[in-house]
Amino acid sequence: MKYALYLGCTVQSEQFGFEASVREIMPKLGVELVDMNNTSCCGFPALSSVSKTAWLYLTARNLAVAEEMGMPVLPLCNGCHLSFIEAKHYLAEDSDLKAKVDNRLAKENLSYSGDVEIVHLLEVLHDKIGLKKIHESVTKPLEGIKIAAHPGCHAIRPSDLQYVDDSENPVKLDDLIRATGAETFDYPEKIDCCGSQLAVTSGRSTLKIAGEKLQKVVSYGFDGLTTTCPFCFKMYDGRQRAIMGTMKDRTLNIPVFYYTQLLGLALESDPDKLGLMLNQSPVDALVERIMEK
């Protein structure tokens, strides 16, 4: 199994814990990740908001690089994944638009055919590697720990363009949590938005949307929350203290992990190789509990 690894702005500029943990665990599960040259931002939603054509050009040039490499592309960010999926759809249905984009790509010696396969991390883990292999690879089961699944909007919607998981009842992240030996259960707010995309216009509303969900997660008795989206992770982990302040709720201190960090602990990877020192939420007690077992 070989994938072209697309990082995107957020992961490569700041979400090092995600990238490090993905690079650490994938080879252990038989997956080879190949770095991409010549990539750029995917354009979502910064450019899709101001110029659809400029956005499609940006995304298509990344897809063109993956096509040149001759392997499926794995974008690490939910937003980049949606951007790739949407762009592939628009460029397939509108030949005029594709001609405009092709013309631009030619100036960079790139060409895009539309044949590239776009995969999501949840699909690679759940469907390609498979739960059985993950379960068998786990040497330190995360027993007795209850983790809430937060798949993130752009991994599951819109269902007419992508089917990473069911849009109203996603279960793959839950299955993956259980494969590590940890527990999880469904909760009503599981498919709710983290609010991060509102940060550019209203910082306070962003924190309130994230805070209301976090309050529910805490109230259900979860020991932690996990996701595979860098934007959602930034909200729940990096901005957790700010959320606590906005909500005036001191109970909102809950460990937040990238799924690949949790799985890495279950595979007995060194916590430093999983970038766990970069999580800003209070993960230490839970990590110690796991390591001591």
Binding site: C9, A46, K107, V200, T201
Partner: protein, 168 residues
């Protein structure tokens, strides 16, 4: 909020794109609004009302409102609409139109565009703080140097011309 100095771009294609979204078939069922995470937080943001205004041709009014810039792009409205109208997609076209007409848009977008134009990405790799307050870089973590567009001049030229020309 900020605005561009040009307002003379051709906007016909975008106006046509909005017409193709068939907002007139809306049943006013409100599933979009009840699913929307922004409606309950920001006064004046209501996808059902937005679809009505589009159907009534009140585009100028919508473009002048900050509301179109507050969508979180969660896509629940698109997912749940029984008439397959997508407030999410309508909002993106409205944003494109506002930008092209030289109307107000959030300041942050200029930084996004500037970053992409300068280095291919919105942001460049930062020194991140650990829980203990130590600063670490990609290099400290053994992560490879990020890749940038190889033909930077051609890349910049493409981006600038596409942004200037809008969607035409």
């Amino acid at each position: 909020m900020t605005s561009r100095d040009k307002s003379d771009f051709n906007t016909k294609e975008l106006e046509e794109a909005i017409r193709k979204m068939h907002s007139e078939v809306c049943d006013q069922c409100g599933k979009c609004t009840s699913a929307c995470p922004v409606t309950k937080e920001i006064e004046g943001f209501n996808p059902r009302q937005l679809v009505t205004k589009v159907a009534l041709g009140q585009i100028d009014e919508l473009l002048a409102e900050e509301a179109i810039w507050t969508c979180t792009t969660c896509l629940k409205c698109r997912e749940r609409c029984p008439e397959e109208i997508s407030p999410y997609d309508i909002i993106l076209v409205l944003r494109n139109l506002a930008y092209r007409r030289g109307l107000n848009y959030p300041v942050g977008y200029d930084d996004f565009i500037k970053g992409i134009n300068e280095r291919g990405y919105i942001s460049s790799p930062q020194q991140m703080r650990t829980r203990d307050g130590e600063r670490v870089s990609r290099v400290n973590l053994g992560l490879p140097e990020p890749q940038v567009p190889m033909r930077m001049n051609a890349f910049k030229g493409n981006l600038e011309e596409l942004l200037k020309a809008g969607n035409d």
